[in-house]
C-alpha cells in the first residue's frame, strides 16, 4: 500500500510532467488561457492516461516487443476518440473551446512516455497509481498555469470575476506569447526553490529525460543504450 502511494506521490511534484520533465508541452501552452479549459484538458488527458495504463499493463506480456510502440499508439488513439466523442456529446462548449487539441492528446509525449517507461514493466495496480499521480500532477499544472493567465489576462478565475473594474487586463497573457513567458518564469521560479539535480548550464536537449533508480537519464543516453542493445546498426558494410 505504501508503495502504491509512493508511485502516486512522485507524479505530483518530484517528477511532475510539466514543470520537471517538460512533457506534453503543446496542450499545456495552447489551452491554458483559462482555468476551466486547463481543468477540462487535464481531466481528458488523465482519463486517456489511466485507461491506456490499464490496457498496456494488462497486455504487457502479449504485445510483441518489436511492435510495442505502434500498439500503444493504437490503444491511446482509441481512448482519445472516446474522450473526444464524449466531450462533443456531453459538453459542447468545452469541446469547442479545446478544438483540435483534444485529438492531439494522441501525440502527447506524456502518455506514450508513461506507457513505454512504466506501464509496460509494472503490474496493473502499480500502473494505475502511477497514472493517477501523473494525471493529477498534469491537471494541477494546467490549472495553475491557466489560473495565472486568466487572473492576469481577464481578471477572473474559473469565469468568476475576482478583480474589480480598476484592473486593466493584460491582454498579452491570453496571447501565445504570454503562455510561453508565464511557463518560462514558472519553471525558473520552481528551479529557484528546488534546485533540481540536473547539471545546470547544460543545453536543453540534455534536460529532457526521465529518472531511473534516482539517476537522471537523458533522452539521448537512453536512446543510445536502446540502440546498442536492440539492434547493432549496420551503417558501414564491411568488405
Amino acid at each position: 500500500m505504501t508503495d502504491l502511494f509512493k508511485e502516486f506521490k512522485k507524479g505530483l511534484w518530484k517528477d511532475n510532467a510539466v514543470f520537471v520533465m517538460l512533457l506534453g508541452m503543446c496542450p499545456v501552452l495552447a489551452v491554458t488561457n483559462s482555468a476551466t479549459n486547463g481543468l477540462a484538458m487535464g481531466l481528458a488527458t488523465s482519463f486517456v492516461l489511466l485507461s491506456s495504463a490499464i490496457f498496456v499493463s494488462t497486455l504487457r506480456h502479449i504485445i510483441p516487443h518489436q511492435v510495442r510502440i505502434a500498439s500503444y499508439i493504437v490503444i491511446i488513439a482509441t481512448f482519445v476518440t472516446i474522450a473526444d466523442y464524449f466531450l462533443a456529446a456531453m459538453l459542447p462548449p468545452i469541446s469547442k473551446a479545446l478544438g483540435p487539441y483534444v485529438p492531439l492528446i494522441v501525440v502527447n509525449c506524456l502518455i506514450l512516455g508513461r506507457a513505454e517507461a512504466f506501464s509496460s514493466k509494472h503490474g496493473i495496480a502499480t500502473s494505475i497509481s502511477d497514472a493517477l499521480g501523473m494525471g493529477t500532477g498534469f491537471t494541477g499544472a494546467l490549472i495553475i498555469l491557466g489560473g495565472i493567465r486568466e487572473i492576469l489576462g481577464n481578471g477572473s478565475l474559473f469565469e468568476v470575476k475576482l478583480l474589480g473594474d480598476w484592473f486593466e487586463p493584460w491582454i498579452v497573457m491570453l496571447l501565445p506569447g504570454g503562455a510561453f513567458i508565464t511557463l518560462g518564469l514558472l519553471i525558473g521560479f520552481i528551479n529557484y526553490f528546488t534546485k533540481k539535480p540536473v547539471a545546470l548550464g547544460v543545453s536543453l536537449g540534455e534536460d529532457i529525460g526521465y529518472r531511473e533508480k534516482g539517476q537522471f537519464v537523458t533522452a539521448n543516453e537512453a536512446y543510445g543504450q536502446h540502440q546498442e542493445k536492440s539492434s547493432p546498426v549496420v551503417t558501414e558494410k564491411t568488405e
Binding site: 493504437v74 488513439a77 519553471i187 528551479n191 533522452a219
Partner: protein, 192 residues
C-alpha cells in the same frame, strides 16, 4: 492566389509553432545548433507533405466512403508512424552522420503534434487536394523558419550570463514568448 494565401498563412501568419503551439518538443529540444535544427526542419517538412497527401486520400477514399469517421485518429496516427519509419530508414542509409545528430528526435517526429495537427486541420478546413499539399509545405517551411531562428538566438545565448534557475528550459521558453510576440506583427497581413 488562394493557394498563395494558404502558404503565407501556414508559414508565417499562423505559424504552427508560435501561434498554435504545435511541435513544441523538438522546438525546445533540438534548437541548440543551427545545422541540426535545419536538418530536423527539412525532415519534418518532408514527413508533413507526405502525411498531408496520405491523410487526404484516407479521409476521402476510406473514411468518408465507408462512413467511419471515428477511425480518423487511429488511421492518421498509423500513417504518420509508418511514414516516419520510412524517413528514418532513408536517413540512416544515406547520411549516418545526420542520423546520429538527430538522435532520438527522428523517431519522435511520430509524436510531433505538428504532423497530426496538420492532418486534422486540413480535414477540419475541408481543403482540396492541391490546397492540402500547399498547406503541408507552408506548415513545414514555417516550422523550419521558427526552429532555425530559435537556434540562432540560442547560439548567441550560450555565452550570456543567465540567472541559474532560468538556464535551459526557462530562458528558452521566455525567448519563444518574445518570438511569438514578434510574429504577431504579421497578424494583420491576411484577414481570416
Amino acid at each position: 492566389m488562394e493557394i498563395f494565401i494558404i502558404f503565407i498563412s501556414a508559414s508565417i501568419v499562423n505559424n504552427f509553432v508560435l501561434t498554435y503551439f504545435l511541435g513544441i518538443c523538438p522546438f525546445l529540444g533540438v534548437s541548440n545548433k543551427i545545422d541540426s535544427s535545419f536538418s530536423l526542419g527539412l525532415a519534418t517538412t518532408f514527413v508533413m507533405v507526405i502525411t498531408a497527401v496520405a491523410s487526404w486520400l484516407i479521409n476521402h477514399y476510406i473514411l468518408i466512403l465507408f462512413n467511419v469517421p471515428f477511425l480518423e485518429y487511429v488511421s492518421f496516427i498509423i500513417v504518420i508512424a509508418s511514414m516516419v519509419q520510412l524517413v528514418e530508414m532513408f536517413v540512416k542509409k544515406t547520411s549516418p552522420v545526420l542520423y546520429r545528430a538527430l538522435g532520438i528526435f527522428l523517431p519522435l517526429i511520430t509524436t510531433n503534434c505538428a504532423i497530426l495537427g496538420l492532418a486534422l486541420f486540413a480535414v477540419l478546413r475541408d481543403y482540396s487536394f492541391i490546397q492540402t499539399i500547399v498547406f503541408g509545405i507552408g506548415a513545414g517551411v514555417g516550422f523550419t523558419l521558427a526552429i532555425v531562428v530559435m537556434a540562432g538566438i540560442r547560439e548567441e545565448l550560450e555565452m550570456a550570463d543567465i540567472p541559474y534557475p532560468l538556464k535551459g528550459a526557462g530562458i528558452t521558453l521566455i525567448v519563444a514568448g518574445f518570438l511569438a510576440l514578434a510574429f504577431m506583427g504579421f497578424a494583420g497581413l491576411i484577414s481570416a
